[in-house]
């Protein structure tokens, strides 16, 4: 599958990842789904993981509730979750795999020494229980508020 990402949304994700470095950031992205996925908007949420946020992220369930409401209000769909891997490659970890939710795309921003080094996107294959990489296309969609 291909995932097309609005450049503004991608910039939001990488900016958030760099600002949060050396901790992990997390957020949702929203858009529309047809044969492929078009990501129009990214919105950050707090990493509420207690303990070492350099290696872990967790989303407050209330923030998920608000994300669903934002999607409904704006006629969009939550297409997935982005998070960063500080000083690590943009590859899903075993921990990511254990927590993976089917359907969602997982965009990972690798941040090396504070700068974005790589961005990848993955989706869980529920038959093999492995992540499959999605091809990313960067586009400039009409501005969505």
């Amino acid at each position: 599958m291909t995932i097309s990402i609005n450049k503004d949304a991608l910039d939001e994700m990488t900016k958030h990842a760099e600002e949060t470095f050396p901790n992990e950031c997390v957020g949702f992205f929203y858009g529309v789904e047809g044969n492929d996925r078009d990501v129009l908007v990214a919105r950050e949420v707090n990493n509420v993981k207690e303990g070492d946020q350099r290696r872990r992220f967790e989303v407050d369930p209330f923030d998920y509730l608000m994300a669903e409401k934002f999607a409904e209000k704006n006629g969009l769909t939550i297409l997935g979750i982005y998070h960063s891997h500080p000083n690590h490659p943009a590859k899903p970890s075993e921990h990511d795999l254990r927590q993976a939710i089917p359907y969602f795309s997982y965009i990972i921003v690798s941040v090396m020494d504070g700068k974005t080094a790589d961005v990848t996107s993955w989706q869980l294959n529920t038959e093999t229980n492995e992540f499959e990489e999605e091809k990313i296309e960067i586009k400039q969609f009409d501005k969505v508020k």
Partner: protein, 92 residues
């Protein structure tokens, strides 16, 4: 009777419906009612023993049922119940 909001990843099991009207006077009865209507949902919400799965949180309105009466929390026809998947991850 209450309305149950289905999280986006599970909507493929509810014919893409975002919310389902549920019978029952408690949260547990409401969620069970939805699972009865869409049996493929059941394993994503309940453990084999019938408890709510560890990776699922349930909200009544804007409140976590864990600070209310948990699954025994009473609902009214105006109640909105949300099924929320736990979202976490990180590097190894």
């Amino acid at each position: 009777m209450a309305r149950v909001i289905i999280p986006t990843p599970l909507r493929k099991f509810t014919a893409n419906q975002a919310s389902i009207d549920a019978n029952g006077g408690t949260v547990r009865e409401s969620i069970t009612s939805v699972a009865d209507q869409f049996p493929e949902l059941r394993k994503h919400i309940f453990e084999d023993g019938g408890e709510i799965r560890k990776f699922v949180r349930i909200y009544l309105g804007d409140e976590d049922i864990n600070v209310l009466e948990k699954e025994d929390t009473k609902v009214s026809p105006e109640s909105v119940i949300s099924i929320i998947p736990a979202i976490a991850g990180g590097i190894d």
